[in-house]
Amino acid sequence: MKRIQTIVIGAGQAGLAMSHCLSERGIAHVVIERGEVANSWRHERWDSLRLLTPNWQSRLPGFAYAGPDPDGFMSLPQVVRHLSDYARASRAPVEERTRVTSVTIDGGGYRVATDRGDWACRSLVIASGACNLASLPACAAGLPDGIAQFTALQYRGPAQLAAGGVLIVGASATGVQLAAEIRAAGHAVTLAAGEHVRMPRHYRGRDIQWWMDRAGIHDAGHDAVDDPERVRRLPSAQLAGTSERRFFDLNSLQDAGVEIVGRLSAIRDGQALFSGALANCCALSDQKMNRLLATLDEWAERAQPEGLQGIERFAPTRVPNPPRLTQDLTRGKFRTVIWATGFRPDHGWLHAPVFDRKGRLAHREGVVAPGLYALGLPFLRRRNSALIDGVGADAAHLADHIAGTRGRLAA
């Protein structure tokens, strides 16, 4: 069994940022990666996906985008290249093609079993991603045979789909992007939307991420909200990595011919039942967007950044009246269902009493237990904790913690 002070699990942006911060602090470590650097970006996303954040906002500790298009949005191959360049630049000690099979508490540290041998370490950083598994609603089990179904992790592109109608469940960034792409490929598309986060790609002439960054919204920590757990549950904003279209919202999808229905509440006797609360979900989303814009306007009033265009407000979300409440799934309207109902991390290999009542990793700002840390989860410490641009600050913070205890567990 090999011994090392610190082990990092996962060589995505979080693990690489942590590796960089540990190296800076002279802490011996290894990064264990089941596949290759940036593995999820290589193998577990749909083909057309681009980052929702502009290129300039892919800052990592000691590394930044230096290409010709700071306002562009990276394609997946470009993300893989960005992270591979980072791994090389920071000489990250990555053990590729090494899958962790179990982590157990071992005396004053942790034992990490892999398919290529076991390790012992004093401190362990879980940086294996927030989106390893697709979350499906319980009603998914009731889908009649004969309808093909894909999770967002299985979907690659419209070419996978049989001709005919597609029901997309979920209206986060994933659901709206897939709805637009599949509709453009000629399918009849119905999108089931529960609570969602409407947001313009650009506002007053600036990308929305410029606003979030400059107005300090991304940096907001736990003390700035009344319930961090609720913020963690929020679906991603309805954005896509392109500045060509202002909105990927329900209005733009309806303009493209997508039918909008309420949240898929149940499948009963072969019938899909959609919630009648669609109008309120849209009202909540419009209100939330307008509060965000008002917050940004207030910041601009104080900060007076140059070159801003005038204050804008957008038409409310159009709600079909009445919206469809039921659809007989045996009638052939939908040949395919795509579950864009969120993701969750996979910590199935972690054998320690560190989970909450709902099976989620319990942590306080990334500190799970003495010597055990998590990184890259939604709102770990700040709103942007799960973004490439936000993980670096968390990595530095936790690396300081590791350096401060030097693996001592008495702390």
């Binding site: 609570e195 919204i217 909200v225 009344d226 609720r230 009648g276 609360a277 909540l284 965000l292």
Partner: protein, 190 residues
């Protein structure tokens, strides 16, 4: 991304004990089983479409509770249905339950957000094609095809804040949820 309304420290009294409700939230975090409540009503047939519900006991916080007072809700049908019209119809009672749930929620949310309500009224309408319950057309449902609620609210708040109260009261309403999402209903004979 979310931008919540700040909880103001202003002394607002809509008659809602928000401090206790927030305390209950913390208690249920520790003991989630205590949050499981069962409510009940027993309905006795009188004659024709006349009947009367009696409501008292309920289960919650891990034990049975008896109220100081027993409540009754009577129901009947109007004369155009050849009934005695001694009480509202069940669908009307459902409309009133929705209005009560949203209005109570409105006051609680307003209190939580430091907004003083001066007056609030919910006017509820439900559209029903009675050919459904008469079994005349399988394409017509028995129940309401649409329900509309119109709130008239006077409060120390902007129009946007009032709209946000109304939206939040729907988001957290038990009756709104049961009307907009299916509920498994089991009926059996004792």
């Amino acid at each position: 991304m979310t931008f919540e309304t700040k909880i103001s420290g202003a002394p607002v009294d809509n008659g809602v004990d928000t401090a206790s409700l927030i305390g209950a939230r913390a208690a249920f975090e520790q003991a989630p089983e205590a949050a499981s409540f069962t409510f009940r009503s027993s309905c006795d047939w009188i004659t024709g479409t006349q009947n009367r519900n009696t409501l008292n006991g309920y289960f919650g916080l891990g034990q049975e509770h008896a109220r100081k007072q027993t409540f009754t809700i009577a129901s009947d049908h109007p004369e155009v249905f050849h009934a005695a019209d001694t009480a509202p119809t069940p669908p009307e009672i459902l409309l009133s339950a929705l209005a009560s749930c949203l209005t109570g929620g409105l006051a609680a949310v307003a209190q939580h957000r430091g907004i003083k309500l001066h007056a609030a009224r919910a006017i509820v309408e439900g559209d029903i094609d009675v050919r459904g319950i008469l079994g005349m057309d399988p394409d017509i449902r028995n129940g309401f095809s649409a329900i509309r609620v119109r709130f008239e609210i006077s409060a120390d708040a902007s129009d946007a804040e009032i709209a946000a109260l109304v939206a939040q009261s729907q988001k957290r309403s038990a009756v709104f949820d049961m009307l907009t999402n299916p509920t498994n209903v089991v009926v059996e004979v004792a």
